[in-house]
């Protein structure tokens, strides 16, 4: 089994003309962990992964793989010397080589004899379900098969670091799910450190040991998936990792990390790490799981965390229905129920304190 690289990026900055892709970026990734960098387009995640791969060179700061500094000033260790492999968004399979030849290419650095190369290529192609398609050229394979070849090529040489540059973004949902599982399994089996970038939060939560959320070239939060979800450090992180709704109101009181917020007649109680004063304007963000329908006879009144609304839309989700409800303070999405509520039906929504978060409204920049 391979021993994985640790990755340390210190104060990395990278610009393309007037555009700053990485802005004093730092991160410390432990070996053999599966880290996912999550962020919107332009957040710098591709630049970061390409700099770690050695394809790009940072303008200032430094990058360490294990104990070795691979990029700082004029030092820039060539990609082929970094003992890593990468799965590209567009697969980057060489069209003049067959699937087996594409995979075997990555073994050249290991200087194995032909017999061993052949065996390892066959084994890995078998492992990704392409045992019969080794002789096919890339154009003779489907998108999912091409990405499997790219995955096999990346892991066959057992590198210390596996980089994934949005590898599933060109695939359909079903394939994405299946390949996601294969990536998770094969990567963990290999023992390599994995760094995976995506803009899809469900992919990030499904794969990661740790998630780094990037924004405008900086690291917004780096933590376990659970902490990212339940204790987002900023409204940006909360929004990017999934929201059902958001409301603005003023603080009534804060007791033991729970803020009571007046939305204008109705009250919401939400978790917070901030030291709010009374009447501070705040934003309450609700996770998609925060809201559910209250019993039909529930009176809203001044009871906290109960909101009156009307069903605007409904969507079938297999095991039940998701609803979009309009309240007088704003819409709430993803309210799940086994039963379908008809569009236009009046209802009462109950909001879970644990899945509600209050942030200062002034910090809202996105």
């Amino acid at each position: 089994m391979t021993t994985g690289h640790s990755i340390k990026v210190k104060n990395a900055t990278k610009s393309y003309g007037a555009l700053t892709a990485l802005n004093d970026f730092s991160i410390d990734i432990k070996p053999e962990k599966f880290t996912v960098l999550l962020g919107p387009s332009g957040s710098g995640k591709s630049t970061l992964i390409r700099s770690i791969a050695g394809i790009e060179k940072i303008d200032s700061g430094s990058i360490f793989l294990g104990e070795n500094e691979v990029n700082r000033g004029p030092i820039n260790v060539a990609p082929e010397k970094r003992n890593l492999a990468m799965v590209f968004q567009d697969y980057a399979l060489w069209p003049h080589l067959t699937a087996a030849e594409n995979v075997a290419y990555a073994l050249k650095r290991r200087k194995l004899d032909d017999h061993k190369v052949g065996k390892r290529v066959r084994d890995i192609l078998e492992r990704v379900g392409l045992g019969e398609k080794g002789a096919n050229y890339p154009h003779q394979l489907s998108g999912g098969e091409q990405q499997r070849v790219a995955l096999a090529r990346a892991i066959v040489a057992r590198p210390a670091l596996l980089l994934f540059d949005e590898p599933l973004s060109n695939l359909d949902a079903d394939l994405r799910e299946r390949l996601r599982i294969e990536i998770a399994t094969l990567t963990r089996e290999s023992g390599a450190t994995a760094l995976y970038i995506t803009h899809d939060q469900s992919e990030a939560f499904a794969l990661a040991d740790r998630i780094g959320v990037l924004r405008a070239g900086g690291l917004e939060q780096y933590d376990t998936p659970e902490n990212i979800y339940h204790q987002p450090s900023t409204p940006f992180v909360a929004r990017f990792t999934g929201l059902g709704g958001s409301f603005t109101g003023s603080v009534v009181e804060v007791v033991k990390g729970v803020a009571t917020v007046d939305l204008g007649g109705s009250f919401l109680r939400a978790r917070t790490n901030e030291k709010f004063k009374k009447k501070d304007v705040v934003e309450v963000l609700l996770r998609p799981t925060a809201s559910k329908f209250a019993a039909s006879n529930t009176k809203v009144g001044s009871t906290p965390n109960l909101l009156a609304g009307k069903v605007l839309d409904t969507a079938y989700r297999g095991r039940g229905y998701e609803h979009l409800v309009e309240t007088k303070f704003g819409p709430i999405a993803s309210i799940f129920d086994l039963k379908q509520r008809a569009r236009g039906t009046n209802c009462t929504i109950e909001v879970d304190i644990q899945a509600s978060m209050a942030f200062p409204a002034t910090k809202k920049v996105e």
């Binding site: 294990g66 990609p79 399979l93």
Partner: protein, 584 residues
């Protein structure tokens, strides 16, 4: 514990990497400067500073430009520009249409059309002009058969004739560039148009847009080639009728005393025109991405033509190749097989004697062998340099080095060969060149260096379209999977552009084999290149012998091209060959 493949300290690796990179870059730039920059700059500087090269008294003056905008020079320049625009437009339009039919439809005899385009490429413009002359001149082939067409003859020795032949000559340049790009263009774009309600014509327009880098490259190359052409000018231009800039320049160089400052001034103006055209090309394409060749590219399916369309398309191509290739070939072959053509004999007969004479006589045969050797060396070196240059030009990094290279190549592509050769004479005759140990004047080495320098810009341009289609991630994938930059080139870049490189090699070989202007000014004593040999023989009114060498030279070039592509088909791995291939 993190493991690296080698135990060399990172710092040492980095510095040796930097040293290696610097020395390779330095060597590349040394070649570019020695081949292109120094001769060009030194020669052009004569226009502004005649004293620098002992061509006058002034250190800095614009006086050399005065004659350029007066009388014959000015008119010649206008004629050249008009011909350049017309030839670029017609040649690119025709090339795009032919490439479409040959590569994207099931029109019959596609391989033959492809071969004919290559044959047209082989024929230098002066040979095409000679072929037409042999047929229509007074006492020419048609006259022998009792046909006289003075109207056609008059048109031939004027703008119509010159424009026509220069358009013919431009077609293969544009065709090669466009067809290479078309091979890399998968059919999914075409299908996307059709499934969204577009007609075949809409699909053609969309594909043309995607092919714009190649089309613009084609237009720019044809324009540059046309205004730099000396071959047609040397045969059909004359001061009294329709003069073009290169012919006027030639006369100025041949006059005594030689007006080099004026020649340089004309060159500066010609160069400026070409650079402006090519800058317009790069400006028009700025910000557009046409990278369409990737691992996901699928082979194209040919459009199935109806019988009527097949007949029409074949008829069109046959007509086109008939007038571009058939007429001059008929002229050359018939002239080479007529005993006594050009003499005052009145009893002419059909014979192979001229060919036997050429094959037996070293005097007639040696120029062909000498030029074949020079052309092979030139093609090999030029293709290597062009591949590196074109890769640098399409690099996403907007470095100064890239901008400079682009500028020098643009500048060089516009320089007429005869002026380029004059620049070589200047540069390598300077005292400083002698002091540095470059004793090259009058040697075969200088001739070959000049051939390489004149071939490099157009060879580079012909590869840029393909390099543009090459997705960066393919070579990045190589690097992250353990390949050095060099091995990445050998194992991925080269296979993916092997066919265009082979085409570029053939293009350079054929162009050099029959090259006229550089050969005429730089040929070393006792080593007459082919064009000089033919010119001498025709100058002695041995039309039969001269045209027989022409025919043999073209046949030999066709054989070389055939062998090159035959070897590629026989020896290249299957994966290399299937790229850009269509399935019927």
């Amino acid at each position: 514990m993190t493991t690296f493949e080698h135990s060399i300290p990172i710092g040492a690796r980095a510095s040796s990497f930097i040293r290696g990179k610097i020395s390779a870059v330095t060597f590349f730039w040394f070649l570019i400067i020695a081949l292109l920059v120094a001769p060009i700059i030194l020669f052009l500087s004569v226009a502004f500073s005649p004293r620098l090269l002992d061509q006058g008294n002034a250190w800095f003056t614009f006086m050399s430009f005065r004659p350029v905008f007066k009388d014959i020079f000015y008119i010649s320049l206008l004629h050249s520009v008009a011909l350049g625009v017309a030839a670029a437009f017609f040649a690119s339009s025709i090339a795009l249409t032919v490439a479409w039919y040959v590569l994207r439809t099931n029109t019959p005899a596609r391989k033959i059309w492809n071969g004919c385009i290559f044959a047209l490429l082989l024929a230098p413009s002066y040979l095409i002009a000679l072929g037409w002359e042999r047929i229509f001149e007074r006492g020419g082939v048609l006259n022998i058969f009792g046909i006289d067409l003075p109207i056609v003859r008059n048109l031939l020795y004027g703008p119509v004739g010159m424009g026509m032949i220069l358009t013919f000559k431009g077609i293969p340049f544009a065709y090669l560039v466009i067809s290479n790009a078309m091979r890399g263009l998968g059919e999914e774009f075409e299908q996307a148009v059709r499934v969204h309600g577009g007609s075949r014509w809409d699909a053609f327009k969309t594909m043309s847009t995607l092919l714009l880098p190649a089309i613009w490259s084609g237009v720019a190359i044809v324009f540059a080639e046309t205004i730099s052409d000396f071959g047609v000018a040397s045969q059909l231009s004359s001061p009294g009728r329709f003069s073009v800039a290169t012919f006027t320049l030639y006369r100025a160089i041949e006059s005594i005393p030689v007006l080099f400052p004026v020649c340089a001034a004309v060159s500066v103006v010609l160069l400026a025109l070409v650079v402006l055209a090519l800058l317009a090309q790069s400006r028009a394409l700025r910000g557009r991405s046409f990278r369409v060749l990737s691992g996901r590219t699928r082979p194209i399916s040919r459009q199935q033509l109806s019988l009527r369309s097949k007949i029409l398309s074949s008829g069109g191509i046959i007509f086109l190749l008939g007038i571009t290739l058939g007429v001059p070939v008929f002229g050359a072959i018939s002239a080479s097989m007529i005993r006594g053509l050009g003499s005052l004999l009145s009893n002419y007969s059909i014979t192979f004697d001229n060919y036997i004479r050429v094959l037996k006589s070293p005097l007639l045969r040696d120029p062909l062998i000498f030029s074949a050797k020079c052309a092979a060396i030139t093609a090999c070196v030029a293709v290597v340099l062009a591949a590196i240059s074109s890769r640098m030009l399409v690099s996403t990094k907007n470095s100064t080095s890239k901008k400079l290279l682009d500028f020098f190549l643009l500048a060089a592509v516009g320089l007429p060969g005869i002026v380029f050769a004059a620049g070589y004479i200047f540069a390598y005759n300077l005292p400083i060149a002698q002091k540095l140990g470059f004793h090259l004047y009058g040697t075969v080495s200088l001739l070959v260096l000049a051939y390489i320098a004149t071939a490099l810009p157009s060879t580079t341009r012909s590869l840029v379209g393909n390099m543009n289609q090459f997705q960066e991630s393919l070579s990045e994938a190589c690097r992250v999977h353990g390949s050095t930059a060099f091995r990445t080139w050998i194992s991925v870049v080269l296979p993916l552009i092997a066919r265009p490189i082979l085409a570029a090699w053939c293009l350079t070989y054929c162009g050099t084999l029959l090259e006229l202007p550089v050969s005429q000014l730089l040929f070393p004593p006792n080593h007459a290149p082919l064009a000089v040999g033919i010119d001498r023989i025709l100058g002695n009114y041995d039309f039969g012998g001269g045209t027989a060498i022409e025919v043999l030279a073209i046949i030999s070039a066709l054989i070389v091209v055939g062998i090159a592509f035959g070897l590629f088909e026989a020896l290249a791995p299957k994966g290399w060959k299937q790229l850009g291939k269509a399935h019927s």
